[in-house]
């Protein structure tokens, strides 16, 4: 028992000191590339291979204009590192962005759907650039390697001390390892947040938009199936913790009133909105969660009728349970109230009314659809329902 305690004390003391020389890692300089013999060069090589695949991948969004727009945001935030960081968009309906050590930044479409303005996207891009500048991937790798070595020693030590290695002990060491690594990662995240805020303010963006994107994520999580993100083992700080840190940091800045939020984002993502919303609805998250995402997407948008229409779509796609069809019809009608000549809403109402056997009303709405849409591609199918 004494031996076990001794090893645990040695282990904990070890954890209070920097591991793997991570603290010695200096910021990467603009246009710097690692020497070929270093571990970092190996990480770059791996990520260069990944990046080559991503360039032609089917999951990469085919919109160079939008990628260029994000790249311009980056260059505006940090002109020094503009040449070093490439920005790619992946068509993935989840909130995510990540930074590779070689300068490859990837933003998922789910994040762009959720961001309410350019300043919020800039906050994420600035944060990710912070990871690159501070070489966080390399630090995380060095720490992981050092900890893995320490865990082996600990496992052997516990074995010598009379506790069989493997089984629960193995799980325990893994758990501890994950916990400490997560903490280190959270420190990196805080550091990247600070850099991101500096960039935002230098580029004249409103820093108050940075915590807002996280506030929305918290709200979305609360409405969803997973009420609380796992904080201890999460690689990112809990959103609540992150918001508090960001707000605390913002208070340290002066003259931050009347900064820009940026209005171009909504226009830039417009060509993809329909597909992204369809992908979001297809996730079949809780209705309240999806409604919240859509409400934020269309907040302050002049096309409120589209919000109503897509809310109708959420219910229609869930099938004929819990009065979904009537709820969908109500939303489609709200869309029509906001935009009288919106053909799609008439079509959906008509098709749903056929299902719930309101045939004469259905035919009226389908005819109205054909009148407004003027020779639509699906005319023959609609007519097959009218005859």
């Amino acid at each position: 028992m004494k031996k076990i305690l001794l090893f645990i004390i040695i282990f904990l003391v070890g954890c209070t000191t920097p591991i793997g020389g991570a603290k010695k890692v200096e910021d990467i300089k603009p246009q710097e590339t690692p020497s070929i013999e270093t571990i970092e060069a190996g990480l770059w090589m791996q990520m260069n291979n990944y990046e080559e695949k991503l360039k032609t991948s089917g999951s990469r969004l085919k919109d160079r204009d939008l990628e260029k727009y994000l790249k311009n945001i980056l260059c505006n935030l940090t002109p020094e590192y503009c040449k070093d960081i490439r920005v790619y968009i992946q068509d993935m309906p989840y909130f995510n962005a990540f930074m590779a050590p070689n300068g490859m930044m990837v933003v998922w479409s789910g994040l762009l759907l959720r961001a309410q303005n350019e300043a919020q996207v800039a906050a994420v891009i600035g944060h990710e650039a912070g990871h690159y500048i501070k070489r966080h991937s390399l630090k995380a790798w060095l720490d992981a390697k050092a900890r893995t070595d320490l865990m082996v020693i600990l496992s052997i030590g516990l074995g010598v001390g009379g506790v069989p290695s493997g089984g629960n002990i193995f799980n325990l060491t893994q758990l501890l390892q994950a916990g400490f690594m997560a903490k280190h990662s959270r420190d990196n995240e805080r550091e990247a947040d600070k850099i991101g805020l500096d960039f935002l303010i230098n580029a004249e963006y409103d820093p108050n938009e940075a915590p807002k994107i996280w506030e929305n994520i918290i709200k979305e999580l609360e409405l969803g199936e997973i009420k609380k993100p796992i904080t201890f083992l999460a690689s990112h700080p809990a959103p609540k913790e992150r918001i508090d840190n960001l707000k605390k940091q913002i208070k340290e800045y002066k003259n931050i009133e009347n900064k820009k939020k940026g209005s171009e984002l909504k226009e830039k993502i417009k060509p993809h909105l329909r597909n992204w919303i369809k992908s979001e609805i297809r996730l079949k998250n809780k209705v309240e969660q999806t409604e919240f995402v859509l409400e934020k997407t269309f907040e302050n948008d002049e096309n409120e009728y589209l919000l109503k229409f897509y809310k109708g779509e959420i219910y229609r796609l869930r099938g004929d349970i819990e009065n979904n069809y009537n709820k969908a019809i109500d939303y489609y009608n709200e869309a029509i109230a906001l935009k009288k000549d919106f053909p799609d809403a008439y079509r959906e109402i008509g098709l749903l009314q056929l299902k719930i056997e309101q045939n004469s009303e259905a035919k009226k709405n389908l005819k109205k659809y054909l009148d407004i849409a003027k020779n639509p591609n699906d005319k023959s199918i609609i007519e097959s329902y009218l005859n």
Binding site: T56, S57, G58, G319, D378, S380, I381, S384
Partner: protein, 198 residues
């Protein structure tokens, strides 16, 4: 010597037994072909037919699955999905698209599309140009497909889907846009339009 003879005979029988195991690919000759007692179709070309009891479909190909294929799904019943395997993301298993026999013509296209997207076979999958279509005696729709896989290979194709006796029937053709779509599109159209339900 006696032992060698025994080993030889046992080996010979083992080889014969192994030849009796399920055939994954069989050759389809030109002419009238019956598919799983569900459809009969006519083909002018030879195709390789892939079939496996584990899967809810079989497909025909000449140059290989990733280059071109005609996929015949077995009919599925109310409350089931086109793909019954587990998703790589286990959380998504319970969210697989479920067939409802009351779906309208637009929704059966949507259901097919959602199933293919759920299977993650393609990173992009779009359908356009929906039209009324008779799949044998089944009232349904046809539509065009554009897709892309993870490696970035572009695909084109078309699908025909319909509902009969509360069951969902679907067949699609897809091929690499470069070379293979043009090479097989006409023949695939002839084959699919020759479908009769059994």
């Amino acid at each position: 010597m006696h032992l060698m003879k025994k080993i030889f005979i046992i080996s010979f029988f083992l080889i014969l037994i192994s030849c009796q195991t399920k055939k994954t690919y069989i050759l389809v000759e030109p002419g009238k072909v019956e598919i799983e007692n569900i459809y009969s179709v006519n083909t002018n070309k030879k195709w390789s037919q892939f079939q496996d009891k584990e899967y809810n479909f079989l497909f025909w190909t000449v140059d290989g699955y990733t280059l071109e294929r005609i996929v015949f799904f077995k009919p599925i019943e109310e409350g089931t999905s086109l793909f019954d395997h587990d998703s790589f993301f286990s959380k998504e298993n319970e969210k697989r698209p479920i067939f409802d026999s009351k779906l309208n013509k637009f929704e059966i296209k949507e259901f097919f599309e959602n199933c293919i997207i759920w299977s993650r076979e393609f990173t992009n999958f779009e359908t356009t140009n929906i039209k009324n279509y008779k799949l044998g005696d089944i009232d349904g729709v046809s539509f065009d497909i554009k897709a892309q896989n993870e490696l970035g290979l572009n695909y084109k194709g078309f699908a025909v889907v319909g509902i009969k006796n509360k069951k969902f029937y679907s067949v699609y053709f897809i091929a690499a846009e470069i070379e293979f779509y043009d090479k097989y599109m006409e023949e695939a159209k002839k084959i699919i339009s020759s479908i009769k339900t059994l």
